[in-house]
Amino acid sequence: MQRSYINALYKLMKEDKNVISCLSDSGTDYDEMIKREMPNQVINFGISENNKVAAASGLAKCGKIPFVYTTNAFLAYRSYEFIRDDVCLQNQNVKLIGMGAGLSWSTLGSTHHTTEDIAVLKVLPNLTLLSPCSPKELESALKCAYEIKGPVYIRMGMSGEKEIYDSDVPFVLGKNNTVKEGTDGVIFVTGSIIAKVLEACDKLTSEEINLKVVNISTIKPFDVNSVVENSVLPIMFSVEEHSIVGGIGSSIADALVDNNINTKLVRIGLNDTFAKGYGTHDEILKMNGLDSESIYNKIKKELLK
């Protein structure tokens, strides 16, 4: 997804000289190339995320559109008060781009994991939260973020995510989209773990269990109607590379309670724990019960109850 981000941002920067790429020693050779071409539109703040976020608020105050890009965990946690006070409270047109959502930084441990960001950021007023699941959807999300006149946060993976959309991406701000139809239940999922969910569903389908898969690419504003509409199905699951505390499962639970709906909801994610182990992204997902096999087993177990 990193490549998609750079390409999409490059296009925006070419089209609008007010689009500024803000790095904190977090770029790649591509960023260096872009800086050579558009030196006035790339700023490396050095390793200082907090100053970068607050300064981005100052840039936005003057009509710039800063895209603040860094390791997801450092952005969401270290800079939280700066996101809250300088971006959201002042409703500045700053785009916060977290690179390495969930367990993407699989070998570096929990300091680099971003598994509580949805919980802490979705409570901030004025902030739009986007969680694209594939390279193409990221491009759409980035364009959408540019068009919004206000704070936007995008969490994105960085593990060579698979493309799940064949052609056009049905990305609409604030609307979930159905990736797979089914009648035996529904799985709500956010982010690149959707690929694992679809693999689990393939296996379930071979056993004649057909689950609908709904991609939540806008976490806030949350598509409450999508939850209400799908509550006619026998069971709901949520799958996220995030703590089940405060994640999309919690947002679904809120929607069910607020609408007085009594439907079974099973939340799959990190169960109020930091992720364990080191390895490739696939390996750490497996160690923490979030690979396709584990997801399949958890769903099957619930369906057999």
Binding site: N40, N50, G58, A60, C62, P66, D85, L89
Partner: protein
Amino acid sequence: MNIEEKLLNIRKEIFLTGYSVSVAHLASAFSIVEILYSLYINKNMKYNVEDANDENRDIFILSKGHGSLALYTILKEVGFIDKKTLSSFCKPGSVLGGEPCIPYINGVEATTGSLGHGLSIATGVSLAKKMDNRNEKVYVLLGDGELEEGTIWEAIMFAAHNKLNNLIAIVDCNKIQKMGSVKDIMSINSWKTRFEAFGWKVVEVNGHDVEELDKVFKEENKEDKPLVILANTIKGKGVSIVENDPRWHWRLPNKKELKVFMNELNISEEEIQKCKEVI
């Protein structure tokens, strides 16, 4: 009215406004009166009362947001806000809180309150001005205790690296923070050497001498470095029992102390009664 009388009246109004709601960071407001006077009343900063968002205006950010009463009182003096608005300070329905907040106060450029944010915001504004080849200046007023915040030093490095010579940081060096003297809490011998070491141009002034402040604000910064003005001030300046006493960071006078305030700020019994009645 001579300048001393004007400054006295500003401190008097700061006190009465805070006293009316029994809420105020009086000492922190008192130490920055002359700095704001020089910038706003003596017009060393460009602003437009008729259009607070005039694109040609200089930008001022009060990073030590708890000095808000001084800023609000000065904004009233120059006409950004009216007396009624100032009198509403911290009362239900008011736009004026204990810390400045955008977008509802004419003349306030940034929401501050949590320390260590304002300088970073100011560097962003300064950089944007540079990118657009604009000539406006960016002023940011910090507390010396605030300099203990780590983000301040991220911003200091960033401003020097980017040669933001349109940025003027003013440090209210009143040498006192909430629990004691800055030196006792964080033994810094010299802000000057620190700022210089970080690549800034440093000027030291008496922060209560308006003429001296005027002179330094008028002087063009010809270096390709950001400028910091270390303004030596007295926390609580203007009321003897408040001056240099950390206990006054967040409190108002009792009955006995009130007599000293009234005497030294030339406040009548009637004005005390009246300020409590204003809605």
